[in-house]
Symmetry: D2
Subunit: 324 residues, 4 copies
């Protein structure tokens, strides 16, 4: 089946002198609702039958004809509970949305591609090169989770146990690997003909590949350091207001000088980032954002100069003569 | 600080001719609320000052003086939403609770240990030997998640892609490793003096150690196969009842003959088991139940006959003479 | 190309009243030179054009027409050096050979398959089921390497360092995983129509899959515990006889009461098992013997009842109704 | 015991107006024999009793009083065999040596530290910062091994099999991770007071930590792609000169247009790099050079600003107030 027969991808449905009208849907638009503009673009290689799908343009998020379907995620309704005791992250959360375009107008001045289908795959590839490198941001989120794990280890009175220290080292090693592969991709950036800079494609994909895996292991270790309480602690209402509140505060104390309120708060943050509201961003979105894991592996394969490496091996093994 | 000074562990506070009264708390009691009886036992090595803590007894769950604090977990309130569209698992969930005992009576006939502190550590060790092997049950849960991943791969029309097939193999390899190490522990069971059988301690700990890690990797791969929609799909109300319902059903269709309702249902199950209500049981409880990961490593170290292995090496390397 | 056109696989080239004559080659025959008999069998699915390749028979290893090409392996000539200082394993080594059959006769009484090509793939599958489970033997070799690692840690005076203890636990966990998956495969064995027993195919393949990977990690950790000396120590002649012998014994001492001769011996054993003569058996042969890693993955895929697992998931997610 | 009592570390034993005389040993000196100069330095934190050990100086490799003990390594004697058929790498190999200094003179102009024991630990730390980052060189060796694996996959006719392609991607991902973390460490370099530049310590240790592990996995995958022949092929003499030479060339052919000589050559290179002469450099030296794995973990722990990360977590969880 051809793309143009599916009628679900975004496409031009009407052209006027002033611009174009588009129709279709975009799934998985991270953070679109708190943005000012959306830039739509094709996400696949296109053929000459797909000219109407070769549209890139900027659209204000409140343009006429757009409907946002707010994605439903783990623990989303907790944020709206009175008291906000169990929210985990007191300030921030993200969102995913599906966006449906019903004859949305893009004026000429905001159109950047219009029918040039032959550039669609290059555009996608360049976009993912930038985008996959930008996943270095997850190492910042990782810093928070590492900090939370170190804090609960301290509250539990075990931060000097050798296996705890080693697990914190492991978390950092994984997190810095994401960071380092990301910035290395920029270090090896090169300028395009137009004078813009683009980062290294191979290393951007290596970075994103780590993001799809190490975040989960960091999350697992965070739960390990948290202790079982992260899965069994009482609700904030029971803990703070209920008739058992005093008992709970007594029984849930950790180390001597740590109050149980703080212990519960840091545990809720770890829950939030590994099972709850922000786990979708730290884990699931790390997996699929900017392309699912296999997409990076395909690109790593394309970008590696395997023939050069074969030549190295053939020379050293004596299969081909080395130049003098 | 001594245990007997803490006043938080369960202990005997009064003895009568008919039995004992106990006070204290038990955290993390998986499934206690849907049980008929609780058996309480010490969980630490005890000294002669801890005689009052050396209590093992059976208590009906509705005995006077017991309070249950129901643990608050990811997505718990979803089950109570009208429509139950987003519940994921239509039938089952578990629960953790904290149990507070306020002068709870245990009659003599239900007391199995009373002050014999010197057997406390042996009791704990035998209990964990049985208990850690019993975590083979998580391979049954793993079967469900593997089935869900295979189903969504089919619905997405990619079940014949080689990387998808390989990921399903990996999930199964990990899951069967949990299963096989568990049953191997039983195979090597031995009888105690009393005629009871006890399974192999070393292999029980190896089994549990895999449970603390491979479940998370199985969960990660399940999310990989699910695709990004697992983190961005609309709420059941939007999908089934709202004004955009028709559009959503159109845009969220997978493979030709699969209806989008089924696709959403299987995705909600994967969400449930990796981020939501049952993720606590499949992941967090796998990590900490029957002892956190380091507890198994300590026990593996104790149970391995390292001196025998050293002798093997010393003989083969010629450090010590082999017997003829 | 068809097998029958290749003329390299073993095949019947002449039939007489008393038996058959075979020609061709068998590569990678582990231990054939120290065996009494060889049993040859097809290793591929065969078609009706391959009848001459469907031959199973027993042949004495010194039968006329057989030539063995002894495989050349890492450090093979060391065993023949005077002094045998650097041999590592004082008693044992293995060998691989290629066997070339030039009109070798198999009498009728030793022929077990003769042209029944349709059973060739079943035969291969049953053989690998037995054979892959038998790789549990590598956990015995692993015991030696773990013992060697524990010994050198002791000699280096670091056996109580927490990271050393943890690495020994990891080695044991990996080694016992190989062991446990192997014996679990036997535990689930079943009887064939003939009354023979055959072990579980799925678990046999899971066992072998671990053998292809965990042995390498055990080897890596052994080298870690060995310290750099495993890659830099002097030859046995320099150490024991040369003019620098006294200096070397002084400078290469480990812990106080350990003599440097023993330290060098255990290091040579670790070298032997991870880089040298027995590394081929412990590592390379673990990888490829009884089928290379991908062969097990294909078989795991075939043996898992994925449809049953899909049904579990469809029932729990509400896609299909559960039976009452 | 104090260092100064051991008399094995290098130390000053006599001071004259023109310089100092040193005595002691240095183990594991990679490549010292093909160098022009050695720079000796302390390798431990020193106390005020260790002033004589606080010596840094440059020494020509052929200075009077130096003895080199050439380390004995896997397959070292193969290079000296006639024909060099089985050498694997036709041109290169490395060496480790132990160096014994017996009253070796260092003139004043080549002395860079002389008794300033309080700077010893800073010196060691800076040295390892540079040195661990320099292990990025192993990604160059990795390129050769990846090339060899890709070449044998081609010769075996399986380079288009999906699992082969995926394994090559994995090798590259691991190899590029070493590369990227290394160059990222340089990117974040900073200038010292003297105007020299020093690379980032944390990322240098992350780089080296990957080198200690990923090289082994790359080696394992290379052996996987090689096939069993890498452990069982005949000696070069049998293959090239012996009476069975013709048969062997026939039976060991891979893909149609590939001659068996080339196949054997590339397999010998893989053997050389994973089990033989260069495996010591690619594997063992990657593990222990510039400090064994645990040394990097200690340094990662020191260099991470864990208090900053704890603060992030405490702010987001509401334990401490965020600044406005």
């Amino acid at each position: 089946m051809y793309i143009y027969e599916l009628l679900i991808y975004l496409r031009i449905v009407k052209r006027t002198e002033d611009g174009v009208y588009v129709k279709g849907a975009k799934a998985h638009q991270t953070g679109c609702i708190n943005s000012h503009w959306m830039v739509v673009m094709p996400t696949l290689r296109l053929s000459d039958k797909d000219k109407d799908y070769a549209i890139v343009g900027a659209i204000p998020v409140d343009a006429e004809g757009i409907t946002y379907i707010y994605g439903r995620q783990s623990c989303d309704t907790r944020s709206m509970e009175p008291g906000e005791y169990d929210v985990g992250n007191k300030y921030f959360a993200g969102q995913e949305a599906m966006v449906i375009f019903d004859d949305v107008f893009i004026p000429n001045k905001y159109i950047f591609m219009n029918g040039e289908y032959e550039f669609a795959s290059m555009l996608v590839e360049r976009f993912t090169t930038y985008h996959r490198r930008s996943y270095v941001c997850k190492s910042g989120v990782g810093d928070v989770l590492i900090g939370a794990a170190a804090t609960i280890a301290e509250y539990n009175g075990v931060e000097e146990a050798s296996h705890i220290k080693d697990k914190l080292v492991e978390m950092n090693k994984l997190n810095e690997t994401i960071y380092a592969t990301g910035i290395a991709s920029s270090l090896q950036g090169s300028s395009t003909k137009s004078g813009n800079f683009i980062n290294d494609d191979l290393l951007a994909n290596v970075c994103k590949q780590h993001v799809t895996k190490e975040t989960y292991e960091i999350g697992r270790i965070a739960q390990d350091l948290a202790g079982g309480l992260v899965g069994s602690m009482p609700s904030g209402i029971d803990f703070n207001e209920g008739t058992m509140s005093e008992d709970l505060k007594k029984y849930l104390k950790g180390k001597k000088d740590i109050n149980s309120e703080d212990r519960v708060k840091i545990l809720r943050l770890i829950e939030n980032m590994t099972l709850g509201r922000n786990a979708v961003a730290y884990l699931t979105e790390s997996l699929h954002g900017a392309g699912s894991p296999q997409a990076q592996r395909v690109q790593i394969r394309r970008r590696v100069d395997i023939e050069e490496k074969k030549d190295f091996a053939k020379k050293l093994s004596g299969i081909i003569e080395r130049e003098k």
